[in-house]
């Protein structure tokens, strides 16, 4: 069984009349094992390949190879299926018309699936909502259900053959049921559209600028998924009666706002989905508003717990101690300060690129300048180097920048997809 531990980083001291408590809670998982092999139930993997006409021969061939390599990285015994998607969704493998729509991986099924993939041809449009809905039905077709469900989704274009509402409905239908890591190849897809899918489905989004990288990316995605031996963990946050959650966000490895994704466990506890876990660390920023107490009082501001099923596996305590000692109360915890900056960094990059896209150069310059400043201050080298391809930096310290005249679309999309990645302040 996996072991979870937690650590809380905060300044517990509040000044007289202070109400707002901020803390970073680090949750660490070790001994996670492999997907589907920890006795908690079977794992299922679906590889969804965009086979729309726009893929063309080169991208289609690269995608076929990448999908096959993804299959090679699925552990034997894992349930799997391959879906081909254009304006419709097709079950490419297993070739069954009824019953269980997924089979266990072994050398025979792997070879058959590779063969099925080899027949893919690029034609038709794009309707990603239907792809997601088919995945949900396939996962649900396994008798007894699967404990862990994961999809790798590849696309190259906009969701032309569905309305935004249709896609939103499909996302709402599937959210919480399985996880999706989404990758866009080329520059004709919409980062916001794919990010919406990945965020709701507790996965990641990234651009594959060069089709030649596709196989490497798919192999890594599948290996990462297979290393997640803890199927479905949830973050539970208890706050005292009368208190209020200002926000809850994951801040490492990426920024994801969880505030409005909670479901109540009881009157004082909300549960936030975190998906499957490998051996890894994740940081959460919890901000709670309390009724002020008198100096000298101490109280608990939040219990931050990680639960799998009904088992609480670890708990971090966020505290509040009111003090008249300004040496204690004036300090801002370095972890809290760092991740507050990283969350703002993600926001200003996205807002800056959105402003640039609609021709609002003044806003874009201000926002991206602030992003340069934040990335430099926090030592976020990846963000700094990606920003450098979109703006000319006059003074990183003050955030003085000029928008580049000619920007490669790939660089702009890479900056956008990477905007939520954060650096850690510790080791």
């Amino acid at each position: 069984m996996a072991e979870f531990t937690s650590a809380v980083y905060q300044n517990e001291f509040l000044p007289d009349g202070g109400t707002d408590v901020n803390a970073i809670v680090t949750i660490t998982c070790s001994g996670a094992g492999s997907a589907g092999r920890t006795g908690s139930g079977d794992a299922g993997e679906i590889v969804v390949v965009d086979t729309s006409g726009s893929m063309g021969v080169a991208n289609m061939n690269a995608a076929k190879q990448a999908a096959m390599i993804a299959l090679d990285n699925i552990l034997d015994g894992t349930y799997f299926a391959v879906v081909a998607g254009n304006h419709k969704a097709y079950l490419a493998y297993p070739m069954v018309q009824t019953g269980a729509g997924m089979v266990r991986m072994d050398s025979r099924t792997r070879a058959e699936a590779r063969r099925a993939i080899s027949f893919f041809r690029a034609e038709g449009g794009t309707a990603m909502g239907t792809w997601l809905n088919l995945c949900k039905a396939l996962f649900a077709s396994i008798p007894g259900g699967l404990a862990q469900k994961h999809v790798i989704l590849l696309t190259d274009g906009e969701n032309h053959n569905e309305t935004a509402a249709q896609l939103d409905n499909a996302i709402a239908n599937c959210a919480g049921d399985f996880q999706v890591d989404a990758r866009g190849v080329g520059v004709d897809w919409k980062v916001a559209e794919i990010r919406k899918i990945a965020q709701a489905m507790l996965g990641t989004v990234d651009i594959i600028g060069d089709p030649g990288q596709m196989s490497t990316v798919f192999a890594e995605l599948m290996r990462n998924s297979m290393a997640r031996g803890v199927a479905n963990a949830e973050l539970r946050v208890w706050i005292p009666q009368g208190a209020q959650v200002m926000f809850i966000r994951q801040v490492s490895p990426t920024v994801e706002d969880l505030t409005h994704r909670g479901t109540p466990v009881n009157q004082l506890t909300m549960s936030y989905p975190t998906g499957a876990w490998a051996d890894e660390e994740r940081d959460y920023h919890v901000a709670v508003r309390l009724a002020a107490k008198s100096v000298g009082q101490e109280q608990l501001a939040a219990r931050v717990q990680l639960a799998v099923g009904t088992d609480l596996l670890t708990q971090g305590l966020v505290k509040a101690k009111w003090s008249s000692d300004t040496n204690l109360t004036a300090q801002i915890n370095p972890e809290v300060a760092h991740y507050t900056g990283q969350a703002e960094l993600a926001q200003v990059i996205q807002e800056g690129l959105a402003a640039k896209a609609v021709g609002d150069e003044a806003t874009a310059t201000t926002k991206l300048g602030r992003a340069v400043q934040l990335a430099t201050e926090s030592g976020n080298a990846e963000a700094t180097s990606k920003l450098r391809k979109v703006v000319d930096i006059a003074d990183a310290r003050t955030g003085t920048v000029k928008l580049k005249k000619a920007v490669d679309k790939v660089d702009e999309m890479a900056l956008d997809t990477a905007s939520t990645k954060t650096t850690r302040i510790r080791g």
Partner: protein, 414 residues
């Protein structure tokens, strides 16, 4: 039961070998090759632990066919408090004094989050009916770093107060360890039948300070960059003699109608100014008045206590306290007035100490408050000093500190 009808990918070209030509695998039944040898769940067919009450896969209830394996004894690798499974039996659940909710195993209310008072926040001790004390968190500090340790037998008593320095780490643990170690050393040397001469007890006090220092250092983490530290004040009562020692600014008073004395002398900035002629009230109001110049702990420079002995000439009380009390009544006359007010309603030393603590908290409770009291002269054969014979301090008759106790340096640090 409705089966989904899967939308199969259309065959690419009739001329090419079609996907349908690939034999369709049988997928309906679970693979036989993987069939487990052990017991399986009657509901879902997956392997189960013979001792399990529920199937791990589908959750169906099971009847165990093997006894539950005994939990392994906790070893060095046992989970820490941080990672241990949470949850507490109903019988162990306490009620929150603030809202009536249940106190969780983490020590906080499950409803309002109030911190459950820890036994460390407020405790009292009463080893005999003529000796008692109270140690309290006060109002403004969130932790009680004061410590109290008492002992009494026959006509002999030991009173020790330590005040952990709040800027150091774990000083609450260190102060209590130090006070209790000193109490044990002194109780051993002052026990009935032992030679309780002035020389022996002066030596015992010096040894108690050295041992308390070791206890404080013993609670300090090796890598602590802010070593725990504490003050020290102790009184040993033997019949009508009071032996005392102190380091830092915790104090020993002798308060009675005949004698009103501050026996101890602070090791503090304020005292340094008083020694140079500044009036006490003015010196104790200085911003750095409370900076102490001697303390117990790993970073202590000088742990030589100031020791002394005072003969008791009439009925009264020995009072040992932390600055949480004397901050509000420093001079012996002022403090005697507060003690007298407490004794007007009770003759019990614990109850009187509690009243003094409450009085200090009513003045603001800016610091932890500790008060230890022993009625003097000590009862002989446990017959004197019976409850009800409260000693009123009456009008001030005795001289103030000017009368001065005999003072001497510890013999071990000549």
């Amino acid at each position: 039961m409705t089966e989904p009808e899967w939308p199969l990918l259309p065959a690419p070209d009739p001329a090419e070998p079609t996907a349908a030509a690939v034999p369709t695998p049988e997928v309906a039944a679970p693979e036989v090759a993987d069939a487990p040898v052990g017991p399986t769940c009657p509901s879902c067919g997956r392997p189960i632990d013979p001792a399990a009450w529920f199937c791990e896969a589908c959750g169906s209830p099971l009847v165990p066919t093997a006894p539950t394996p005994a939990a392994p004894a906790p070893g060095p690798d046992a989970p820490s408090a941080q990672t241990r499974r949470l949850g507490v039996r109903a019988s162990e659940q306490a009620r929150c004094s603030a809202c009536g909710g249940t106190i969780g195993s983490d020590g906080y209310c499950q409803t309002c989050g109030a911190k459950a008072p820890s036994p460390r926040d407020h405790f009292s001790a009463s080893p005999a009916d003529w000796v008692g004390g109270v140690c309290d968190r006060g109002v403004q500090h969130y932790r009680n770093e004061d410590a109290l340790a008492l002992w009494a037998d026959g006509d002999r008593a030991v009173l020790v107060v330590c005040d952990g320095v709040s800027t150091s780490v774990d000083s609450d643990v260190a102060a209590l360890a130090g006070a209790e170690r000193a109490r044990d050393v002194l109780a051993g040397r002052a026990a009935l039948g032992q030679d309780a001469s002035d020389e022996v007890l002066a030596q015992a006090l010096a040894e108690a300070v050295a041992q308390a220092n070791q206890a404080v250092i013993g609670t300090t983490a090796a890598d602590s960059t802010n070593a725990a530290s504490a003050t020290f004040a102790a009184a040993v009562v033997v019949g009508n003699r009071v032996h005392y020692a102190n380091l830092g600014d915790s104090r020993v008073y002798l308060l009675g109608p005949a004698q009103r004395l501050l026996l101890s002398l602070d090791d503090s900035m304020a005292q340094a100014f008083i020694a140079e002629g500044m009036p006490r009230a003015e010196a104790e109001a200085l911003p750095r008045a409370h900076a102490i110049t001697k303390w117990l702990g790993r970073d202590a420079v000088d742990t030589t206590p100031r020791t002394g002995v005072q003969e008791v000439t009439g009925p009264g009380w020995v009072l040992v306290c932390s600055d949480g009390l004397w901050n509000y009544a420093s001079g012996p006359d002022e403090l005697a007035a507060q003690l007298d007010a407490a004794l007007a309603t009770t003759s019990d030393p614990v109850a009187a100490a509690q009243l003094l603590v409450e009085w200090a908290n009513a003045q603001g409770g800016h610091d932890n408050v500790t008060v230890a009291l022993a009625r003097v002269p000590a009862p002989t054969d446990g017959a004197t000093g019976a409850p009800g014979t409260a000693v009123s301090l009456g009008a001030a008759a005795g001289p103030d500190e000017a009368a001065g106790p005999e003072e001497k340096e510890s013999p071990t640090h000549g």
